[in-house]
Amino acid sequence: MQVTGSLKVRSPRLMRGIDSLAEAATFVAPLLLLVAVWAIVVPLFQINPRIFPSLGAVGGAAIDSIRDGSLFAHIGASLLRVGLGTLIGIATAVPLGIAMGVSPTVAAFLTPLFRFFSVLAGIAWIPIATLWFGYGFGAIVFVIFNAVFFVVAYNTLLGVRMIPQTLRNAAASLGAGRRALLTEVLLPGALPNIVTGIRTGLGFAWRGLIAAEMIATNVGLGYMLFVARDFYRTEVIVFGMIVIGVLWLLIDRLLLVPLERATIERWGMVRRT
């Protein structure tokens, strides 16, 4: 049989495929169990749908929101804000982080500020952001930007600091000038930390997004939850929560984790966790 024949080949790609299938299974199993408990418990104890919806009702809400297209409008609006805020955050944070990493004076001056603002990053800025940008797109993008910026800048700084001096010496003795040092050594050397910063920052940003959308807009996943609450539509709320969770997992697993794997693990700079 050709199939078993090809299975026998120790193809790393195939092994990795089987690995990630097994990984996915162990990841999904507890979630399925939770859904099963939910499917049994809600009808069994006749729980008031204003307190918690049945599985069927949530399924219905899902179908409704897909049919009328409102789900995609909310997801699209949310993703656009997150994407834009994150891009602006990375584009500004990485250069600043590298400048801090290179110059001890700049780093010494800015580090306390960054520690302080890292704690505040994201949600705490919503009220003042709405005063600066009004209710809507600008305020929300600012909150996302803010959540990403401080974390990424701080991690970039750490990344640059962690590059061994011998690597800089090696580059210099091979003829690298300041510019080459930046693009050939500091940026790639700090990349593991930058990616970690982006993952953490996006996590903050995603939470910040939902909070900001509850307050500052009329479309988006956060808004979807918030409006449903006014009408006691627990099935819409729970469905929205599921969408928010699943979307984050997809972003993390399909975008950020592969980004880490494609580069950093190959370089042997961090171990798989």
């Binding site: 210099a172 091979l174 990349l191």
Partner: protein, 252 residues
Amino acid sequence: MKTLSLRNLGKTYFDPYAGAHVTAVHDVSLDVEPGEFVSVVGPSGCGKTTILNMIAGFIPHSNGEILLDGKPVHGPGPERGVVFQSFALFPWKTVLDNVGFGPKMRGVPKAERDRIAREYLALAGLSHAANRYPAELSGGMQQRVGVVRALANNPDVLLMDEPFASVDAQTRMTLQEELTRIWQERKPTVIFITHDVPEAVFLANRVVVLSKGRVLEQIDVDLPRPRVWDELVKDDKFKQLSARVLQMVRTA
């Protein structure tokens, strides 16, 4: 090719913990002719790394001069190639790109620097590893890459600070033999730092014995080449020279 001269070279560190000045290198004068292989040997702490780092331009010197072809050197530069004990390969670059890094810095176009890199990788028997990343290689292979990366940039002087100290004994002997072979083929000027006396004698034309930041003695090594361990371990002249140098290092 150029002559490297150290004139009354000295280095005094400030040790912030002790709050005191420490003179690591007192007064070192040394001339290295083009195409010469000089080993610098001495006990740990005698200032070997300090001297090499000053020549490489990684740290400033406190006294004296470092002249390359009569001109003082300032800071690191591609005319002084360095092989590091810790290899210092760029983890994010393939072996090919590591070796092609020097030519890239000189503005050599991609196709040409790949050709140069492949030529040097072949010299070290590493052609098969061109597309691997350093983390995928053994220590011995990584250091082979470290050596050819420095060579591929055609430096006037190759500076090596205990480059084989962190590989196992068998691999170290192979690397030493390969280095003498490569040296014979290319005749780079080499300053090789080590605390391992047989290694110093095996590789060099001249052994410089260092003691407490000063040159204690210089010994010419006129052993025939190519040098291989199987023969030299039985060679009386090699044994005599090694014994002499060892004696000096131990009393240093």
